[in-house]
Symmetry: C2
Subunit: 313 residues, 2 copies
Amino acid sequence: MVDMKAILSLDIGGTNIRAGLFSEDSIEPFYIKKIRTSGQNRTPLENIIHLIAEIKHEHPQIDAISMAVPGSIDNKHGVIIKAPNVGGWKNIPLRDIISEKFGIVPSIENDASMAAYGEWKHGAGRGHNYLLYMTISTGVGGAVIDDGHLLTGFRGLGTEKGHMTIVENGPLCSCGQPGHLEALASGTGIAAYFQRKMAEGVPTSLAADPAPTAESIAAAARQGDALSIDAFRQAGYYLGIGLASYLHIFNPSCIILGGGVSSSGELFYDPFYASLKQHVMSEEYLVGLEIEYAQLGDDAGLIGAYQWSVDHL
Amino acid sequence: MVDMKAILSLDIGGTNIRAGLFSEDSIEPFYIKKIRTSGQNRTPLENIIHLIAEIKHEHPQIDAISMAVPGSIDNKHGVIIKAPNVGGWKNIPLRDIISEKFGIVPSIENDASMAAYGEWKHGAGRGHNYLLYMTISTGVGGAVIDDGHLLTGFRGLGTEKGHMTIVENGPLCSCGQPGHLEALASGTGIAAYFQRKMAEGVPTSLAADPAPTAESIAAAARQGDALSIDAFRQAGYYLGIGLASYLHIFNPSCIILGGGVSSSGELFYDPFYASLKQHVMSEEYLVGLEIEYAQLGDDAGLIGAYQWSVDHL
């Protein structure tokens, strides 16, 4: 009998923690479990430990643990420097905590990096070695693969692809800085722009209360609401400016667009692509460039963290 | 006797072509020659061929040729897509031309990439594996090394670190796009800002004719000319915005500043560093970060191209 290794992959989100137990030869987990990150009156950390213990009880043979976490991860030391969406985590030595509890030193990486890795190996990026993955939802994140190498930076903090200034003194970003790509092209940015225009008296079919969100604005846009269409047009325009810069900086052969805002279709894509073409400094950057929607959906981080672990075992 | 390989390194600039013949065990060339790029009534290409032939005549044993070229280089095929400063080169299959003439397939890379490689291996970047090199002179160029990997992109075009939008609808860049880092922080950008302010009537000790350059503005700034000081302050401020974004995107452990504008000292450095600190989204990006001036001067490209060839022979 072959000694097949079992890998526990965890995708830790602000709302849910998803766990998948994989055999090293298949991207189909043989066991999957989803719990609320802050459910059962437990902290996120207690929930993670409880979940791993539960899975280990049912499946004693776990050879590796791989985690995708949304935030700033010092991946050399496995410390969560900041993960505002996961119970306000700050300086959590997650690697040490898990390895003391379970005797396995886990791999801990940024979730957008792991999603990019998953899409590269098993999704929309297959066959490419130069990849820009962008996820556009509440925030804007991303990751880059150059010649098969996933960029993370010195302390693992080089993953903040949404935090690039593109409008001097522009709208404030979630991080507190003005004019970042995230403040202009994310779901939050779309809602903020819409609400600002609404307050200025621009007519719309949407009510002011409850405050319109990127989802309700997308729905109204599909019904022909001009301000809603304009809000997505703006966001796509700024994403085009930002990704033109990323083409100059990275020259990928493939851009993968993931996240809820990307999935709103041509409403967002058409102004994005027109702006990308307008702002690219040379047509050469579009030669051989494929632009794809992400294919793995909510599983990207889970599959990516699993594959990352297999490739680095 | 050891069979030591001889490497011919060429740094091709808009003004000069520098050639160095290196033994693979030393960064001191045993033969060096500098000619004018467009001198002797020859085209740049004719001069390159003539120079190589001349060196090969004196030193028949050349095992590798490595070239650093300022422009967009398809490094997979050795084609110069665009090098405006080298006789307006466009789509020059330089690798094929050289290998047909001399029977050696040369390595051809972007000059900023090779300078970064040189500084990394033998200059200000020694001991770092995560490096951002920026050269600020007439234009703004740069290169990134992540975990010992030099980023180049799919077709070798991912080296345009000066062509990132940081001011929407800002001043026009040499590439034709508005608001790029290069348009705001380069020597050209400094001169353009100065001349604009002068035309608006801001007093200065400098005369309007001949048109002030970054050099004359730097000299006037050192004499206390307020507008000149302001022009460098502006450029440093924008470099700080741009490099804050690059810290978020790349998280290097070392920034190396090269080029003439960088060497103007605190005039430029102080406003740059204040702006970098102001615009970085978290102090974490400054932890362990070293900011250094380039050490290899004009030799960076030559030494980098030599070392690149040794490491990829």
